[in-house]
Amino acid sequence: MIVAGIDIGSSTSKAVLMDSDKVLCYSIVTTGAESVKSAQLVLDEALNAVNARRHEISYIVATGYGRVIVPFAQDTVTELTCHARGANWLFPSARTILDMGGQDCKAIRCDEAGRLLNFMMNDKCAAGTGRFLELMARVLGIPLDKLGELSLEAHNDVKINTTCAVFAKSEVTSLVRDGKDKRDVLAGLHSAIAGRVYNMLRGVGIEPDLVITGGIGKNIGVVRKIEERVGMKVLIPEEPQIVGALGAALFARDSSTVKEERNGELDKCQEATLDHS
């Protein structure tokens, strides 16, 4: 049995393939202008990695903002429910999840089975999201994947007053122009993000363990600042970007199992009917 979870996010599309008890492989591609093509591409990449074909997949669940446009998915589940399930499967002790993606941040609470209990999302603002950091990386002329490590070298965090992407851009530009060390500016930006997501986490209630998912989970600078804020160590999956797709794959596995059981019962019924005839 192979099942698939596909997460169509605003920045990247992710696919996870699973069999009955383990992850077989995953793939991540940039979400293009046509989300349907991104969905096909990301699934095909994952299938190629394990040398499998589309018809071998018994069930597909789509999630993410583009979940409704995946034409070959049998079901859709929101990314909130999927992140809760995926994070809890990776870390059974997870009760609070912070998903920091391309265009939004979500604070999520789940129970011991990974069921969604409560959530909060940022509204209509890119502050604290991947887009925000992408913009700041461009302004500072630093590769996105180097932001975290560089910020750890900061000596004097610069206080950033705004987390509005547009206003922060001009604030950062003038700070650099005034000769501030880029590492100190970066640390300040990460602090500002941590402060913003902390309010969301407080809104749902922080219960250990806290897991960070989504692309920003790869930024060690943001992670450290959040740890300072919440006063606890956070858990980071090996690949934080695929947790939503993983959750979707787990739901696909549930549905596939139910389908197989139903088919099994149907076969038994048919056999019984044949016996009587």
Partner: protein, 415 residues
Amino acid sequence: MVSSTSAKKQLWTTLEVPALRKKYYAESLGKAGGQKVAWCSNGVPSEILDAMDINAVYVENYATVCASKRLSSGFCRAGERAGFSQDVCGYARILMGYLLGGDDVPEAPYGGLAKPDFLVVNSYSCDSRVGWFATMSHTLNIPLYVIDSPYQPLGGCTEVANAVYTESQLEDFVHFLEQQTGTKLDRGKLREKVELARRANDIQVDIYDMRKAVPSPMGAGDAYTVVWPGMYMAGTKECDEFYERLRAEISERIEKKIGIVPEEKFRLLWSGLPLWYNMALLNYFEDFGGVVSIENLYFRYEKSLPSQHEDPLKDMAISSTLRRPYASDIEQRAQLTLEVIREYHVDGVILAYNPSCRMMYILQPELKNILDRHGIPNLSLECDMADERTYSEGQIKTRLDAFIERMLSRRGEGK
């Protein structure tokens, strides 16, 4: 982007409201010139204006009409061009756009509003409304009367003191109207209107009580429509008869166990203002077995007191004093909401978080905190009640879908 607008109506009686509303606005426009026209805010007693043969036009309702016809963005933009910030009340921006937008506004619904001779605002429940009416008074160069409704939280000033003050306000208001029209208020005629309005109120209280039934006989999609006659036609026979028919239809639905959905899986309370430009959102849960079975904003929970005084103004003052605290008092709102959740078998709450409604914006978070403390699932939707540009379909649907998954999961169904 808003993909759909109107709520699905399930009751035959509800379908009468659009025609009533259309007739009301047509008559209002037709009367212009023959009667004095008063542009009013909600909370201005139509019985008094009716008794004095004044053509009352409720402009907040007109703003909701504009929003429901998907014209709010055009009027709001015009209001903003006139200098009003996006943070200003959506209703106010629509009306200021209507007044000051010149030719660069959408075609006004129902042919527009009768030109006002004066303005009346009630300070009840909303603070920015008074400033809005003062601005219109200045712009149009016509008089404004402010009925001051004292804000008293529960346990504050006694009701008697409030009633005495409210009565003095109403007396002064009548004096203002008499000056404007040059005629005296016929208190006998007012008494008749008050009695009719009381009967309509009492039938509505019955209807709210009947909505405790499972399955839900009337959802919020109908309820937000049927409040209209009670708010703007109070004191007329037409209004009374409308609610009589509605009560009879609901009674029949309860008897025959006709619900909103075939199998009711969860019941929701809608707290706050609806999104007038997308009322279909109230039906969104129905495909998943969910029903918005009750709402708390226009809730009528107390039958009218029997008439005790010869002067109808005294009775009106007492009634409005007793009814008043809900809209602006967090204690009253919390108590009523928790009571409604219990009595109406509510499983979860949708909190409309309307940024341009200052009163809602400040009160809803505390109501959310109270619900959280009671372990009641709730979801805040941050969208304006009138300005559709604040609505983001993808963001809202993700929240709603996740909330539905949560509701179904609590039943042991779904994810």
